[in-house]
């Protein structure tokens, strides 16, 4: 309780009817604290976004702005078969990677959420792929997937199978890219889920044990419902990240064979930095933003609903 401050503000209102709480020194101090965050958002979020919007309204030649073309770049988005192909490939990639990563990551977390010898070491090893640079992982995977004498095909042959055309067949190439992403990002799901599991209140499980609940019932009626908001959050983060995938397909396949692994970000990269068509690339970026925002909104709505239910 700051009685002196209240009195001062009361006096200000009496002497100056236009004075409001926001004019006061205390409120100005608040703005000082908020200021850096606002500047940060304006400079690094809003400005690039607005600049991209501005850029998308122009045509370019030699990377230099030529003239205002209105919504022409956006119209191109809907007639560009290569863009639609890259969008389809990206959606396949997102569904493939996120589904497997969620299932595997949660399963691993459940397995390791118990006291076993060496669990700390195992958890540490399990998270290693997370810290590898995606580009390096992509190049490493070229060696692993090498079709003639690479380790994977050698193993498959040793087990009596036949060589898999990991990188030279269009369908397998997409599988190869998806597998590398799963290898790298499943530990992320595992790590967050494990943290969530370990923060669940033990009292609930003690009570369930007293009631004679089985492990399956524990999972179904306690663990899963309690983890659901967190799982939605992980799903959201992985989906957003997967939509922007770039490094792994670039280093592993360069989008090939043909356009079989040309994901959306790679197509936009080529448009902007290989062909210098910055206006069209900006329009592509905005379309991706809209798609991702739509998905994020859907998931947020669902998560908010869950919290409100609880």
């Amino acid at each position: 309780m700051d009685r002196a401050g209240d009195d001062r503000r009361s006096r200000e209102y009496e002497t100056n009817p236009k004075a409001t709480p926001s004019n006061t020194r205390a409120d100005r101090t608040k703005f000082l604290f908020i200021g850096p965050a606002v500047v940060w958002i304006l400079a690094f979020t809003l400005f690039p976004l607005l600049y991209a919007l501005y850029t998308s309204l122009y045509s370019f030649r030699y990377g230099q702005r030529l003239g205002f073309v209105g919504l022409e770049n956006f119209a191109r988005l809907f007639t560009d078969s290569n863009l639609l192909s890259s969008l389809r490939i990206t959606l396949t990639f997102v569904v493939g990677t996120v589904t497997v990563e969620m299932v595997l990551g949660v399963a691993l977390a459940l397995l390791l959420n118990r006291e076993i010898r060496g669990s700390n070491v195992i958890r540490g090893v399990a998270t290693l792929p997370l810290f590898a640079t995606p580009v390096a992982v992509g190049y490493l995977a070229i060696t692993l997937y090498y079709e003639r004498n690479g380790p994977l095909n050698s193993l498959i042959r040793a087990l009596g199978g036949e060589n898999i055309p990991w990188l030279s067949d269009p369908s397998w190439a997409l599988v190869a890219v998806i597998l590398v992403d799963i290898w790298q990002w499943t530990p992320f799901v595992f790590l967050i889920t494990l943290a969530g599991l370990q923060s669940l209140p033990s009292e609930l499980y003690d009570a369930a044990r007293v009631d004679g609940a089985s492990a399956t019932q524990n999972f179904r009626f306690l663990t899963f419902p309690l983890l659901t908001p967190l799982l939605w959050l992980i799903l959201l983060l992985r989906m957003v990240e997967s939509f922007r995938v770039f490094d792994i397909p670039v280093s592993l396949t360069l989008g090939g064979p043909g356009r079989a692994t040309e994901v959306y970000s790679l197509y936009t990269y080529r448009t902007a930095l290989r062909f210098f068509d910055h206006g069209y690339a900006a329009a592509q970026g905005i379309l991706l933003l809209v798609i991702v925002m739509f998905i994020v909104t859907l998931i947020f709505t669902r998560v908010r609903g869950l919290y409100e239910e609880r």
Binding site: G256, P257, G258
Partner: protein
């Protein structure tokens, strides 16, 4: 505890994955060449043959004291293709001029975009670039680089003679009648074959019986296909495993489109049609889907049957390594391979023959719309590739010092050594690179670089014949060349991996060419295209 053991399985798998990754394989991932980004094929090591110093130290009277020359080059390191000679000459250049040399290595994929960003923003961060010849359409079209004509005859600069550059590669040095690129690397594709195999009486007899004609270096693509088919699956390096008839690099972004250019040229170019290959110079309509191009692509797809399946996902380095390990009988690629074959680690030194790219007995005359039958193979020389050479930025603060550096590297004394070494990525193209009677070069130079004499003779003769061929493949140098080529590259990959038929992919390519041309302005593109062909 029994249940806990199951927990270890995922981790065993994870660790196995790591171990497998660390274990490596036979594959050599080193990418490439003077044509692309970088490190030489991994199967060979750099030698110790060094270029002589030709510039005297300036002492107290240094002409460019205080200047800094910043040059961009594809990332490849101090002993890598194209970048290696820059590091080698740095000390000599700085002592002779008083200027400082900054070498900026940029990955191949980022080199052109970063250079263009510097040029379009007019910041002048880079004084020069060791540029690819296909960049000239953008660089000259955008008025971003300066010609060096005014420095060329000035005796205060190191002297070199562009008249010594053979006619094919010499055309790439200038644009619209002005000189822009200072001679350095001279790319072009030739055919390489395993001479030891083709001269083996056992194979000669078997081949004759199967195909009804003698086994010899292929002169047409049909013969090339026969020889590749014959050797495919045979153990040609004595390791007990079946090897390949041929090898190519056909990965998207792995420069497969260059293969197609060299390959398809004799299906399209002929005496009556020396330059109609890319676009119609009257209206900029694409010609890439002509019946000649389609037939060439069908043949190329057919040839992939005689190489490893994996090569549709191979970059340059992987294909070269395959040949250098003695696992393929034929290939067609740049000069780097011939030189790399001579170096430590190569399995084919003394066994590698070379000849100009094979021809055809029939080509499609785009002008008349008819197929033309020929008695002799219709052979087309080429300068396909990067021909990486220095250009001077219009925004450079030190253009004279920059030209001095590039001219120093172009001197006969240095270029002689560069062209003979494999690791530096500089390929031959000047008269003193070639052996008598073709040129004034000496076998001693090639001996010092570790060459087998017969390999050197065939190699230099193949390049001399290709660069001096009456018909030359028309090099594309217009704005957005890379964009046109990327469209072609992706389409080719679709064809060789069976995603679409050759007619279909080339039709799609033509539509994409048209779309690019429309976007950039048909009239503007047409004008520059005609200038690049010296039609205006």
């Amino acid at each position: 505890m029994r249940r806990a053991k199951h927990i270890y399985f995922p981790f065993l798998l994870l660790v196995a994955f790591f171990l497998a990754a660390c274990g490596g394989s036979e594959q050599q991932t080193g990418q490439k060449s003077g044509v692309d980004e970088g490190a030489a094929a991994e199967a060979v090591k750099a030698g110790s043959y060094r270029a002589p110093k030709v510039a005297e130290p300036c002492g107290n009277d240094c002409p460019y004291e205080g200047d800094t020359v910043t040059v961009t080059v594809n990332t490849a390191g101090k002993e890598g293709p194209i970048s290696g000679p820059l590091y080698e000459v740095r000390e000599e250049f700085e002592a002779a001029t008083g200027a400082k040399l900054e070498i900026v290595e940029l990955p191949f994929a980022e080199h052109f975009p970063k250079l263009m960003n510097d040029l379009t923003s007019q910041t002048g961060q880079y004084d020069a670039s060791i540029a690819g010849a296909w960049w000239l359409g953008d660089l000259v079209g955008g008025d971003f680089i300066v010609p060096y004509d005014k420095y060329y005859d000035d005796p205060s600069f190191p002297q070199w003679d562009d008249g010594e550059v053979l006619s094919g590669p010499r055309d790439l040095l200038s644009y619209g009648g002005e000189k822009y690129m200072i001679a350095n690397d001279h790319d072009g594709q030739v055919m390489y074959y395993r001479r030891d195999l083709l001269e083996d009486p056992k194979h000669q007899k078997a081949f004759q019986e199967k195909y009804g004609y003698e086994l010899r270096p292929p002169q047409t693509w049909d013969e090339f296909g026969d020889v590749a088919e014959y050797f495919n699956g045979k153990d040609i390096n004595g390791d007990g495993q079946g090897d390949s008839g041929l090898t190519m690099h056909l990965k998207v972004g792995g420069q497969g489109m260059f293969h197609f250019m060299s390959f398809s040229a004799p299906y399209v170019i002929g005496p009556e049609n020396p330059s109609l290959y890319w676009f119609d110079p009257e209206n900029m309509d694409p010609l890439i889907d002509s019946p000649g191009h389609v037939r060439a692509l069908k043949k190329l797809v057919e040839l992939t049957e005689y190489g490893p399946d994996a090569m549709t996902a191979w970059s340059l380095g992987e294909s070269w390594d395959h040949f250098l390990r003695g696992e393929a009988a034929l290939t067609f690629t740049w000069g780097d391979l011939g030189a790399l074959a001579q170096q430590q680690g190569s399995q084919v030194k003394g066994k590698i023959g070379a000849a100009p790219i094979p021809g055809t007995k029939k080509y499609y005359n785009i002008d008349t719309g008819e197929w033309v039958q020929t008695d002799q193979p219709n052979v087309v020389g080429n300068t396909t590739g990067g021909s990486w050479a220095g250009v001077i930025s219009k925004f450079s603060d030190a253009p004279e010092a920059t030209y001095y550096l590039l001219a120093l590297m172009a001197t006969k004394e240095k270029s002689t050594v560069y062209a003979a070494r494999g690791w530096d990525g500089v390929d031959p193209g000047r008269s003193f690179h070639f052996l008598p009677p073709d040129g004034s070069g000496s076998m001693g130079n090639y001996n010092k670089a570790g060459w087998n004499e017969r390999d050197a003779e065939e190699y230099t003769t193949a390049y001399f014949d290709s660069f001096n061929a009456e018909q030359q493949f028309p090099y594309l140098r217009v704005p957005a060349t890379f964009e046109y080529w990327t469209a072609l590259d992706i389409s080719l990959s679709e064809a060789v991996t069976g995603q679409a038929e050759p007619e279909e992919v080339l039709k799609t390519t033509a539509e994409e060419f048209d779309s690019i041309t429309e976007r950039l302005g048909r009239e503007e593109q047409l004008e520059i295209y005609r200038t690049s062909l010296n039609l205006d």
